[in-house]
């Protein structure tokens, strides 16, 4: 009983904090909030497709970031050859990467699903290596980035001047979250994906085409991450190893949110983005931003496990 | 004297009280049956007593010792053995090694002793394919394995959670003999079953749980005639 009550109080505190901290920040250091949300949006939006295949259907994809990197290269060359803006190139990228995802699935992942689960780690690790080296051989390690004047557009509110474009990541994270949630909750296909993730044999027994579901989810995830690579390119350079840090970041976010918890990925991304921005906002402490990232991560994971055990 | 005793044991899951105010004793050399409708809290009670779930209230005594807050492995050392309703054998070990786990860690035997213990127990239970991997075994063999592992830790009290479910009458008969044999070694046994012939033939005393509490207690002949038990659990046999 007391436990129940403290839990409530605890939750209340959390709620207050989650409302109070932004308000305080807004007044004290508005940049932190703005840039934290933008940065967190990027983390979150790139983690979402991975959360879809890891959290929902249980495929571990260590090559996640590499697909994003290839998406960015794709957009770059669409710009060079077809004159497409990277944001426009997201459309052909979705198509191309859905195809790439499907091919990858059919040739590799499908076979690995029957094998011990850890084999996916090795398989996708090998794929990541192939992807990175392919990019390296094709385009060398020299970074590429098109010039886009809209990415540094900004508004000034009195003394406060901040970039507006990077909110595209924040917006994309929220939009993608909503779409994925709708897909998983409201469509039969989405529910089938959840079922497949929890028990593939059970899914077969209720008439779900497990193989097709895997194929679909994997291609969707790759298509999304490919398109997000194009969006990434608007504000970042692309080079062969550009993706790998995002694989790890995405993993971290998903673990922090809890497997299968897509909203948690987005809120977690925002939270980490703001925490990092807050630490970096103190001059000379930027070097500790990573520690904060990891410390928040560990604290949240540990806290959750503690709550799970007591509840 | 009671080997095992619970006092007002309670276990909740959020708002659901799965076990409520459960007080009972297990005497030496006794075979106690626990029956009750699905979801009555039988497995939860075993989990609370064996330490997998901490009770949310109440006390548990093994002999004189209060084990309410002991971790499960300590309870095993002290003499609580159990099987699992939904069997999960240790698939990467052979049948023999499955049993050895109980002997090695429940009683801290040496490897050699444990190997021998496993052989003896397997022989006692009629488990023949002892060096096969678990994936080759039938359900019957796996159930024997479960019992064997629990037995190998040399328990004072043994909880058997639906080990006889899914056995045919021949097999059941053999199993009954095996359980009686275990009792004759001085182990108090608590069986949970939905097969009434087993309860009837095996138990000295029966507790009927419903909604987490005891609704009837006594020899099988008595509780099976209890109208409440019939209504909640047995139903009318046609």
């Amino acid at each position: 009983m007391t436990l129940f009550r403290t839990l409530r109080r605890w939750q209340l505190l959390l709620l207050l904090a989650s409302l109070g901290v932004p308000i305080v920040l807004m007044l004290w250091k508005p940049y932190v909030l703005i840039e934290g949300l933008q940065r967190g949006g990027l983390y979150a939006v790139i983690a979402l497709p991975m959360a879809l295949i890891l959290g929902v259907v249980g495929i571990i994809n260590l090559a996640h970031g590499e697909f994003m990197m290839l998406g960015a290269y794709f957009a770059y060359w669409m710009g060079v050859y077809a004159g497409l803006d990277p944001l426009v190139a997201m459309i052909p990228a979705v198509v191309a990467f859905a195809l790439l995802g499907a091919i990858t699935y059919v040739l590799t992942i499908r076979r690995a699903l029957k094998a011990p689960e850890l084999n996916q780690l090795l398989l996708t690790f090998g794929m990541a290596m192939v992807g990175t080296e392919f990019a390296n051989l094709m385009w060398t390690s020299q970074p590429l980035k098109p010039h886009l004047s809209y990415v540094y557009s900004s508004v000034a509110l009195g003394k406060l001047r901040f970039g507006t474009y990077a909110f595209i990541y924040t917006a994309a994270a929220i939009v993608l979250l909503v779409l994925l949630q709708l897909f998983l909750r409201k469509t039969r296909l989405g529910r089938a994906a959840l079922a497949v993730g929890q028990n593939p044999r059970g899914a077969r027994l209720v008439g779900i085409d497990v193989n097709r579901t895997y194929l679909l989810i994997f291609s969707v995830s790759i298509a999304l991450v490919g398109a997000l690579g194009a969006m990434f390119l608007t504000r970042h350079s692309v080079f062969p190893s550009a993706g790998s840090p995002f694989t790890m970041k995405s993993f971290c976010l998903i673990a922090m949110a809890g497997i299968g918890n897509l909203p948690g990925v987005v809120w977690g991304g925002f939270g980490l983005g703001i925490a990092e921005a807050l630490v970096s906002s103190f001059r000379g402490y930027g070097g500790w931003a990573d520690v904060v990232f990891f410390a928040v991560l560990v604290a949240v994971i540990m806290g959750k496990s503690y709550r799970r055990q007591t509840a | 004297m009671a080997v095992l005793r619970t006092e007002a044991l309670e276990r909740r899951f959020g708002g659901l009280v799965a076990v409520h105010d459960l007080t009972f004793e297990l005497a030496e050399n006794e075979i106690l049956g626990i029956i009750g409708p699905n979801g009555a809290g039988k497995t939860t009670a075993i989990n609370a007593i064996s330490g997998l779930y901490m009770p949310t209230a109440g006390r548990i005594f093994l002999g004189e010792e209060d084990i309410t807050y002991s971790p499960p492995h300590v309870r095993c050392h002290l003499g609580i053995g159990r099987t699992f309703q939904l069997v999960h054998p240790l698939v990467d070990l052979t049948a023999r090694e499955n049993i050895m786990v109980g002997a090695l860690f429940g009683q801290h035997r040496s490897l050699r002793q444990a190997r021998k213990t496993a052989e003896e127990i397997a022989a006692q239970l009629g488990l023949e394919r002892i060096d096969r991997s678990v994936s080759d075994l039938t359900v019957l063999e796996i159930k024997k394995l479960e019992i064997g592992r629990a037995l190998a830790s040399d328990p004072k009290v043994l909880f058997l959670d639906e080990v006889m479910a899914g056995l045919n009458s021949d097999e059941t008969k053999a199993a009954l003999d095996a359980v009686r044999g275990i009792r004759d070694q001085g182990v108090a046994i608590c069986v949970v079953e939905h097969v009434m012939s087993v309860i009837r033939d095996l138990t000295d005393r029966v507790i009927v749980l419903d909604g987490g509490t005891i609704i009837a207690e006594g020899p099988y002949s008595k509780v099976s005639a209890d109208p409440r038990v019939i209504a909640a659990y047995l139903g009318e046999e046609e």
Binding site: R204 | G39, L140, E237
Partner: protein, 233 residues
């Protein structure tokens, strides 16, 4: 309706189904046999969860042998698996809905089917929002049975459905099987031979992967071997 012809299956070198043949019309049929006889393997072969080495399975005249499991299920077969195979992190209700959601034709009757499930196992209604993985053993069994019935299958296969059910529900279940058997086909593997023989019209006894005996249930009830080995008389 369902015809199994000369099915053979091996696990590695172990020959677990030997020329097994059986038929199910619009009736209930029981399959009995000791542990490890091959009952589960047989039903798995029917729905395509294992691929037998030889033989054939036809359903409504169509061979199921090349079909993937989900197509078998969609063609009107439902299985209550021995291992239940629920979706542990979905609610009871979502599990039930999944039973009908992927079967063409069953979807529109979903609310009614849900109602029927709750009537058959009232506890499931109480537990509707609980995660399936936290149900008790018997509750999970009920959920598995109810989920399979959600699609009103033409052929319902039950693999040891009474396992872990309280006695009153076992009685009810077999009662239901007898009633259902009048409308659709039922194939039931069971250990509780005594009660289930009363629920089915015909039965097969499998031993060591072979059909050892077959016949109408009253005949089997009188058979010496059955009485000795399965009824404990």
């Amino acid at each position: 309706m369902l015809a199994v012809a000369k099915l053979n299956h091996y696990y590695g070198k172990a020959h677990v189904l030997r020329d097994v043949s059986l038929d199910v019309g619009t009736e209930s049929v029981g399959v009995f046999g000791p542990n490890g006889a091959g009952k589960t393997t047989l039903v798995h072969a029917i729905v395509g969860l294992v691929r037998p080495r030889s033989g054939d399975v036809t359903f409504d005249g169509r061979s199921l042998l090349r079909l993937p499991t989900h197509e078998v299920i969609r063609s009107g077969v439902a299985l209550v698996p021995q291992e239940r195979e629920l979706f542990p992190y979905m609610s009871v209700r979502a599990n039930l809905e999944s039973g009908a959601a992927y079967i063409p034709g069953a979807r529109k009757d979903l609310p009614a089917a849900l109602q029927a499930s709750f009537e058959m196992f009232p506890i499931l209604k109480v537990r509707a929002r609980q995660l399936a993985g936290t149900l008790s053993g018997g509750e999970q069994r009920m959920l598995a049975i109810a989920r399979a019935m959600m699609s009103s299958p033409k052929l319902l296969i039950l693999d040891e459905p009474s396992l872990g059910l309280q006695p009153s529900l076992v009685t009810e279940l077999f009662h239901k099987v007898r009633n259902l058997g009048e409308r659709s086909a039922i194939l039931m593997a069971e250990q509780n031979v005594r009660q289930s023989l009363k629920a089915v019209g015909r039965g097969y006894v499998i031993e060591n992967g072979q059909i050892a005996l077959e016949g109408p249930s009253d005949e089997l009830l009188r058979n010496d071997h059955v009485r000795r080995a399965y009824l404990g008389l």
